[in-house]
């Protein structure tokens, strides 16, 4: 018998839960000026999440999926992308979207039930959030193929959860991207929970990163609560993809500190004490401790940042609340490039009932 293939999966962490460097930091992380924007982005996302949940509780937006505890993943990855790259997000990726230039107002508009929230003013080619599990990995592989075909030095990056690694879409897309040597980065936000189903019921493999091996793709694992590790791995994967080296899978290990969404009650299926213990690993405190240790952060800066974030979120909420709902015509406006003649009658009827008092009573 001969061994014909052998594999290993590397795990990387630079900062431990206390924010102490466990190994020499990568060059970008030696300059606090590179780390403070990441810290700021994480704080802003957390402030946004807190406010968005409050808005849902008071009926101002619909169901919302918070990124609580997983901020480092989206921010570490998106900060490694160039603006001409394309993000193909799942539905828990507003941390990354905000770094890309999607506004908090747009995000609130989306979760508030308005398609205009996905018409981003800035990352014009980024995909909207993908709600069906795992589909976006296929889309991202296609985006990456388009870049390769046109010889554009651009990269597609997508996110999925640990649950989505059970889907065929994930495997098929990794395989396609590998065969095509397409410039793709696939990032698993392993937050340990797919609604109520824990990571160990999803798969028995010791890592999710090794799911890449069957496709011939490099799979690495990082501490997803260490934004330095996430950013470093993403930057290397993106550089490799841009240079023609093909796709990479990054498993970022984190923990979903909140409910799956505002429609979920996680106390039904997991022990609040265990969740409480996981707060010790969360990414914001970790980076703050590091910054404080190297003399780049203090209480005054922290307070100023907290206020800045709160003000920014409040302004975004005000802007969102000031946007009037779309008219009934909006359902038809972008269904096709041009509304087919066959739909004119339905369009007129929808307009008529919407514009007449008592035309749209329900229940």
């Amino acid at each position: 018998m001969t061994t014909v293939a052998r594999f290993e999966v590397e795990f990387t962490r630079f900062l431990n839960a206390e924010g102490e460097a466990t190994q020499e930091l990568p060059p970008f992380a030696l300059d606090p000026a590179n780390l403070i924007p990441l810290y700021r982005a994480m704080q802003l996302t957390r402030a946004f999440d807190t406010k968005a949940i409050a808005l849902q509780r008071t009926g101002k937006i619909g169901t919302f999926a918070s990124a609580l505890g997983q901020e480092a993943i989206g921010i570490g990855v998106a900060s490694a992308m160039r603006k001409e790259d394309v993000l193909v997000p799942s539905y828990r990726d507003h941390a990354a979207q905000f770094v890309r230039g999607v506004t908090m107002t747009e995000s609130l508009l989306y979760w508030g039930g308005d398609e205009r929230g996905s018409n981003f003013a800035v990352p014009r080619e980024d995909f909207p959030s993908c709600v069906p599990i795992g589909n976006q990995v296929c889309h991202a592989a296609g985006v990456a193929y388009a870049f390769k075909l046109r010889k554009e030095a651009r990269v597609a990056a997508c996110f999925l959860g640990d649950g989505a690694t059970s889907k065929g879409d994930f495997y098929e897309a990794l395989n396609f991207a590998a065969v095509w040597r397409a410039p793709l980065l696939v990032v698993i936000n392993n937050n340990q929970w797919a609604i109520s189903v824990p990571r160990e019921h999803q798969t028995i493999t010791p890592t999710l990163a090794q799911k890449a091996i069957a496709a011939g793709v490099e799979g690495v694992q990082v501490d997803g609560n260490d934004v330095i590790a996430v950013h470093d791995a993403a930057r290397r994967a993106i550089d490799k993809a841009r240079a023609g080296g093909g796709p990479t899978l990054i498993e970022a290990i984190s923990y979903r500190l909140g409910d799956h969404t505002t429609a979920d009650d996680a106390t039904r299926y997991r022990d609040p004490d265990v969740v409480q213990q996981q707060w010790a690993n969360e990414p914001i405190r970790r980076l703050r401790n590091h910054l404080a240790r190297i003399g780049a952060w203090d209480q005054e800066k922290e307070e100023r940042l907290q206020k800045e974030c709160a003000d920014q979120v409040a302004a975004a909420v005000d802007a969102y609340l000031a946007i009037p709902p779309p008219t009934a015509a909006a359902m038809f406006d972008h269904l096709y490039a041009e509304l087919p003649t066959a739909m004119k009658e339905q369009f007129d009827a929808a307009q008529w009932f919407a514009s007449h008092d008592g035309g749209s009573s329900h229940g």
Binding site: V86, V88, E115, R116, S118, N119, F120, R124, E125, F127, P128, C130, V131, P132, N135, V137, C138, H139, A140, A141, G142, V143, A144, Y145, A146, F147, L149, A156, G168, D169, E172, A173, N175, F176, V179, D333, H334, L335, Y336, A337, P340, T341, A342, M343
Partner: protein, 326 residues
Amino acid sequence: MAELNLVEAINRAQAWEMDHDPSVVVLGEDVGVNGGVFRATVGLQERFGPERVIDTPLAETAIIGTAIGMAAMGLKPVAEIQFSGFIYPAMDHIWNHAGRLRNRTRGRLSCPLVVRSPCGAGIHAPEHHSESPEALFAHLPGVRVVIPSSPSRAYGLLLAAIRNPDPVIFLEPTRLYRLFKQEVADDGEALPLDVCFTLRAGSDVTLVSWGAMLNETQAAAEALAQEGIMAEVIDVATLKPLDMTTILESVTRTGRCVIVHEAMRTGGFGAEIAANLAEHGLYSLLAPVQRVTAWDVVVPLSRLEYQYLPSVERIVAAVMKTLEGA
């Protein structure tokens, strides 16, 4: 002018558009070196290269899923699903994304995708190779559903589908692939989508059909003509969006309508046309609308497939029923 059968016309339309629009790519299983299992893409890879004519790994979900990503980035993918019986894994992407991307981004992103797939029975194929799933797709908002019934219409409609800025499900009746030839100019002229084609004028009854069943429908019209019954024959061609104007105009004149399709009856697309006739044309009708369809059964294996496919006799009988008491 060239004498082409339907599959050759499909091939020429793709070649024309790839030649004139560098954003067109073809992808699917065996579409490259092999030229497609029906030879619909034969010669394309030699001419346009393996990067534009892509032999994909064998996974329908990712063929359509990646094609959506390509389309959103401005390519015009023409994705082949080898048989429509294998299209269902891709339904997730067609329903949830292809038909919705424009709407959910307010036009910021779009999906100029063509999904080509053979459909229908009548070629003694194995299991899962003979279905007619058009009604499933016609139910979806944001997509078009097109089925050609002749080489020249296949050529012109496929060009229109590739040039269309929205997703088109283009179903090709396998029975017609090599059944007959027609003069096709191969001049890059597209036919209009979203309209029916009147293939034969008549004053007594309107026969509405699409795809391969137009064969039997036209044969029935010919047989009826021998009896002095003049049937108008309409090829729906684009099922979604449906051109009811042409159908209603005809039925208003004839007062009778028989809808013929190869797919099963219940929830079939004939029901949609019949319902539209009831809503908009009831007072023009001199007799109840008739449907001639496959039975509500699983498509049988080949020994029974001609018992499954609606026959000329069934169409004639349905027409006679509309003429009872006339």
